[in-house]
């Protein structure tokens, strides 16, 4: 079954510390993976997708097919990064399968 796992419900770090939000997936076929961010009471916003290999707001994510992971990283967390982060997998049919989400809390 297609599944996305985000093992941490809450990740709390101090400002300036490195951040890694974990995401593992199980799939059949060619995966397309995304990270979405949801700031307090706002809409889900696309942060990254593995195809574009870009860096947004200092975040990067590398698809590791051997470990079936797509962890989100940022070297120096900022307070404005505090939000809910969702990893999502898109299969051949186009629907997104979301992980449970990780709340990132960046303390001053």
């Amino acid at each position: 079954a297609q599944r996305v796992t985000q093992p941490e419900k809450l990740l709390s770090v101090f400002k300036g510390a490195p951040v890694e939000l974990k995401c593992n997936y199980s799939y059949s076929g060619s995966p397309e993976l995304f990270w979405y961010v949801q700031y307090s009471r706002q809409r889900l916003q696309l942060l990254l997708r593995h195809i574009s290999r870009e860096s947004i707001k200092g975040f990067t994510a590398d698809l590791n097919k051997g470990e079936t992971s797509f962890h989100l990283k940022k070297p120096f967390a900022q307070e404005e990064d505090s939000a809910m982060y969702y990893c999502a997998y898109k299969g051949n049919t186009g629907k997104l399968i979301f992980g449970q989400g990780t709340t990132l809390q960046v303390k001053p």
Binding site: E32, R43, L44, Q45, T93, G94, K95, L96, I97, F98
Partner: protein, 112 residues
């Protein structure tokens, strides 16, 4: 930047009543979706819609649910005979092709 608009932002309804959640997708997008998020749980796929018909639906999307694109701009989700467990945040999304969703800000449905 174009947005997906959802109305209302919050709807309270009595159990057994019908509700219609409305969405205005981005105008040149061709694929439309509904997702829901029960409080404290993950975002779940409900249905996708393309070329004026449902292209895929989840097991959640039973006969109680229906979608429609009545006038070429709106995309609606109707829930008949609402149950307490239908209380959730409902997100509409659209995409130009099969990549790059844009989500709306959601409608919080509370069934009492």
């Amino acid at each position: 930047e174009p947005e997906v608009t959802q109305t209302p932002s919050h709807q309270v309804t009595q159990m057994g009543q019908e509700v219609i959640l409305r969405c205005v997708p981005i105008s040149n997008h061709l694929y439309f979706y509904w997702y829901r998020q029960i409080l404290g749980q993950k975002v779940e796929f409900l249905v996708s819609f393309y070329n004026n018909e449902i292209s895929e639906k989840s097991e959640i999307f039973d006969d109680q649910f229906s979608v429609e694109r009545p006038d070429g701009s709106n995309f609606t989700l109707k829930i008949r005979s609402t149950k307490l467990e239908d209380s959730a945040m409902y997100f509409c999304a659209s995409s130009e092709e099969r990549y790059g969703y844009t989500f709306g800000s959601g409608t919080r449905l509370t069934v009492v």
